[in-house]
């Protein structure tokens, strides 16, 4: 047996191996440990354009024109692959440029190398295998160039779209604005007919604005430049809002719209304006492509544990199977059965798909020609990201507000600031909510459809769980006088800016606790991102800023639970920041100064009076910072007191 094996291996070495090497397209060169060339296959000679017996290994790069890939630096002997292989190193995909008399234009080769070992594993030489990659490299370069061109073109397109939308929105501002003023009678009395016509101008210009916005939105999601603001949503009300907008169209075609919201769905968190946009697109299509007297159903259901699904079903034209995947593509419209184009831009579904995907969701459609279609969107039930579900233990605010827009605004502002929010649109609803549980605070509109806000307040104060709940009146009417006799903690006149509302809540003792983010300010963007990563891993929410002025603004928009600030920054520095921040309404948040500066005694004294802590970047390091932050503001994952 052993004899046969060794015979076979003898044949392999003397006959098979040389013929493999001779017919290989790759170059193979072998050298011994002294750097003498032992073997050189024909392909090696052909690729490199040199005869069968080259010089010694030492001066090969010089003698045969081997350069680094920059084509001009002669390859230093230490990195020459065969030299390294002889030295016992492994070399992979090392690129060289070769130019000599035989290959005057030069070629690129990619080289792999390995040491040759004897039976006991000691290095006795080295082998390299290489191939001509000039063509591959040229193709890759070309591909790269083309890619760059495409990227450039797409960037220019986005810029064009942005500036175009700017140009279009600028005149719309005046058109809509002046029409609105005249329509509302704010520029003098107008006749009923004038009012009607102005209403038509307004409707049309709003429509134009919607198209412009769609185009801009598409460019924005494409460029990853769209912000999403998730908040608790009442789906029933949201669907109703969209139905209201399209009510006239449905009525004109005698199409019945039904809404089925699964009561088991519970609260969902999503960006309401984006969800409305999606629903509007689906519903307007359903109405557009459904014949007179048809039926459209809007359905909202749970999808698994963490998602929800909104569907729009119609009894309209339907679509062929092969068309289904094309309709979500930009600007794509199907031929109608009657031939010719439908009105519209073909933007709606493309935008819908992008919006869904940008929020971690997806879209889809099922359809049968002649019978109808079901379009759906699936979104996470709790959008992750900065404005997710309120943390357990967040104070709950009851918003009593008749005006739909104001109610949404209040709810959004509060939930962004970290509060849990419930809403009531009427006096009766407010009183019912107040009997269910104790709120941490109530915001109260005075002009309710069924009662005065004072009646609600009287009912609250008369007894029950909210007898002592702090209440802020938020109303368009400035009848402060009539507040006398009722225990109202604050009085804000609409329109309110977020800050007034939030600082008023803080004043009456309803703070979102550890809900605020940690504000990180450092002029070095690298440091900001490192710090943010560390803090996020520790369970904190963060906001990073690279200058103190922006930091101040950010702190004002959302009260931070703590601040980590660098001292030495151009413009407003850490000292200046501290001075201003500590005077602001958010100034109670602990500030950790994070600095590499050697502090003088007076600087230290100045800091100690205003900052909670000074941590030395070099001496103390990140772990000390984290520990002390946790001492002041336990990370939201852990137990937290208020």
């Amino acid at each position: 047996m052993a004899e046969i094996a060794s015979q076979a291996s003898g044949v392999f070495h003397t006959r098979i191996c040389p013929s493999i090497l001779a017919s290989l397209a790759d170059g193979v060169v072998v050298a011994d440990e002294q750097g003498r060339i032992l073997f050189f296959n024909p392909a090696a000679g052909k690729i490199l354009g040199i005869g069968p017996v080259p010089s010694t290994l030492e001066d090969w790069p010089r003698a045969h024109g081997c350069f680094l890939p920059d084509r001009t630096t002669r390859c230093p002997t230490e990195v020459f692959p065969l030299v390294r292989a002889v030295r016992g190193e492994t070399v992979s995909d090392f690129e060289l440029f070769v130019r000599n008399e035989t290959v005057p234009h030069g070629i690129f080769i990619s080289v792999n190398g390995a040491p040759l070992l004897d039976e006991r594993g000691r290095p006795v030489g080295g082998v390299v295998v290489f191939r001509d990659v000039t063509e591959r490299k040229r193709l890759l370069d070309e591909l790269d160039r083309k890619n760059r061109k495409l990227e450039e073109a797409s960037r220019r397109k986005s810029e064009f779209v942005a500036s175009m939308s700017h140009e279009l929105r600028t005149p719309l501002n005046a058109i809509i604005g002046f029409s609105e003023i005249v329509h509302d009678g704010r520029a003098g009395a107008i006749s009923a007919q004038q009012k009607e016509f102005l209403g038509d101008i307004l409707t049309s210009s709003q429509h134009l604005l919607r198209i412009v916005n769609d185009v801009l939105d598409l460019a924005k999601v494409e460029a990853g430049k769209m912000d999403f603001h998730a908040e608790p949503i009442e789906l029933e009300a949201l669907v109703q809002e969209v139905r209201d907008v399209l009510g006239a169209l449905a009525a004109a075609k005698r199409i019945r719209i039904e809404t089925e919201v699964d009561p088991a769905l519970g609260v969902v968190h999503a960006d309401p304006s984006r969800l409305k946009q999606v629903l509007y697109n689906y519903l307007s299509n359903a109405l557009k492509f459904t014949g007179d007297g048809g039926r459209v159903v809007v359905r909202a259901l749970r999808e698994g544990a963490d998602a929800f699904r909104v569907e729009v079903e119609d009894t309209g034209a339907g679509m062929k199977r092969e068309d289904l995947e094309r309709i979500f593509v930009d600007f794509h419209q199907l031929e109608t059965s009657r031939g010719g184009r439908q009105a519209g831009t073909g933007l709606g579904l493309a935008l819908t798909k992008r919006l869904a995907e940008a929020q971690g969701g997806q879209v889809g459609v099922e359809s049968e020609p002649g019978r109808g279609s079901v379009f759906h969107i699936v979104l996470p039930r709790f959008a992750n990201g900065e404005e997710s579900a309120p943390r357990p233990g967040a104070p709950t605010i009851l918003v009593v507000e008749a005006d739909e827009g104001d109610r949404a605004w209040l709810a959004r502002t509060l939930s962004r600031a970290g509060y849990a929010v419930q809403t009531a649109a009427s006096g009766a609803e407010a009183i019912a909510r107040c009997q269910e549980r104790t709120f941490d605070a109530v915001t109260l509109d005075l002009l309710l459809p069924d009662a005065s806000g004072w009646n609600v307040l009287r009912a609250m104060r008369a007894g029950g769980p909210n007898r002592n709940t702090p209440t802020i009146v938020v109303s368009v009417v400035a009848e402060k006088e009539s507040a006398a006799g009722f225990a109202v903690q604050d009085f804000l006149v609409q329109p309110v800016v977020p800050d007034d509302l939030l600082s008023s809540l803080r004043r009456i003792g309803a703070s979102p606790g550890g809900g605020g983010p940690v504000l990180v300010i450092d002029d070095d963007p690298e440091s900001v991102s490192v710090m943010e990563t560390v803090l996020r891993e520790a369970g904190y929410r963060t906001i990073g800023c690279t200058d103190a002025a922006t930091g101040l603004l950010a702190s004002e928009r959302e009260a931070p639970s703590a601040v980590v600030v660098d001292l030495l920054m151009p413009g407003l520095d850490g000292f200046g920041f501290l001075e201003r921040f500590k005077k602001s309404p958010q100034g109670r948040a602990p500030v950790i100064v994070w600095t590499g500066k050697d502090l003088t005694a007076s600087e230290r004294a100045r800091l100690e009076s205003s900052a909670e802590l000074v941590v030395d970047k070099l001496k103390d390091g990140m772990s000390v910072l984290l520990e002390s932050l946790q001492a002041h503001v336990p990370s939201p994952g852990g137990a937290r007191g208020r």
């Binding site: 939308s165 604005g177 329109p495 800016v497 800050d499």
Partner: protein, 132 residues
């Protein structure tokens, strides 16, 4: 004539007029400028409490102008609100970084506009209430 002094800077005359009509109706005293040099002259002679600044001006950009005003001690604390038809993410940050105190996007809501401006005035520069 008792209203607070506001300066509206916008090169689009229709939009300039719309903003000033709405603000005058609300009792403000309003002056307008269509470019940076007009704006600078009015800042000097009229000393507005608040400047509504279109960020897209011919010649010197609105944001450059803001930076210049911020560098001048006379105007370093004047409330400046950026006014723009742009709405890309990052635009707002750029305006704030240049020294604006806020940001209003066109088309405006004429029913809320004046109240929003009042809100900015009440808040003062960068949310720090004006000295009492």
């Amino acid at each position: 004539m008792g209203g607070e002094r506001l300066l509206v800077v916008d090169d689009n005359l229709a939009n300039q007029k719309l903003a000033s009509v709405l603000l005058e109706d609300d009792g403000f005293t309003v002056r307008t400028a269509a470019n940076a040099s007009e704006a600078l002259a009015l800042v000097e002679s009229f000393s507005p409490r608040l400047i509504l600044m279109d960020v897209e001006l011919p010649g010197m950009s609105g944001l450059e102008l803001v930076e210049r005003l911020r560098a001048d001690p006379e105007t370093s604390t004047t409330t400046i609100v950026a006014f723009t038809a742009y709405a890309m993410k990052g635009d707002e940050q750029r305006a704030l970084a240049a020294g604006c105190d806020g940001y209003i996007t066109k088309p405006i809501d004429t029913r809320r506009f004046a109240a929003t401006i009042r809100g900015y005035l009440a808040r003062g520069r960068a949310g720090i209430p004006p000295e009492r």
